[in-house]
Symmetry: C2
Subunit: 115 residues, 2 copies
């Protein structure tokens, strides 16, 4: 068992305006999937991209939109987002505070940071 606070995990900023923490992953002995904590600055966005694995996302705080094949769909605290494998997507902070969310992916995988 591992118990920590998400702040205990060092953040990575490999996209401008986006902080990522791998809060549970293979380093912890997690065999199947990785839980990440994201903070997106006001006006910033995750990369617009697709990949052959899914996302399961829960919005913790803030306001924004998910941009995909259906256009821009508003999201906020309590929103639940499932992005299927190979679906193009990005998440944009359109609010006035950090957009924070949990995003789970199967292991081992890593989202490309290419736009």
């Amino acid at each position: 068992m591992k118990i920590s606070n998400y702040h205990d995990t060092e953040p990575i900023r490999d996209v401008e305006g986006v902080l990522k923490r791998d809060i549970i992953g293979t380093d912890d002995g997690a065999p199947n999937f990785t839980m990440r904590f994201f903070e997106v600055d006001t006006g910033s966005s995750t990369p617009s991209h697709s990949h052959p694995f899914e996302h399961e996302i829960f919005i913790l705080n803030g306001k924004g939109v998910v941009v995909g094949a259906q256009g821009s769909i508003p999201i906020g605290k309590g929103s639940v987002i499932f992005i299927a494998p190979d679906e193009p997507h990005c998440i944009v902070n359109t609010g006035n505070e950090h957009l924070e969310f949990i995003c789970v992916i199967p292991s081992p995988n890593e989202c490309s940071t290419e736009q």
Copy 2:
């Protein structure tokens, strides 16, 4: 892509004092893992049990303890909990408000509700 609010998913109360929502799962086309949203009433607890699959948990609101082989460990908003396969565990609400958390498990699986 599926976008909803966790409230849109009908809750199940198969344990006294515990509401569970399967907010993303195989019914949504999620191929590998299921995201659940739990609300534990003040003074209530998830079942004390173990199972051959892991939990990845993020605490959204409230205060409580995780009870496992190491004893009772305090948790609260922002806590991150990894429970490895076969580790005995339960989560107890010791605070004065709902204890809310996200718990992800590999699919297909279902936690037993036996104590």
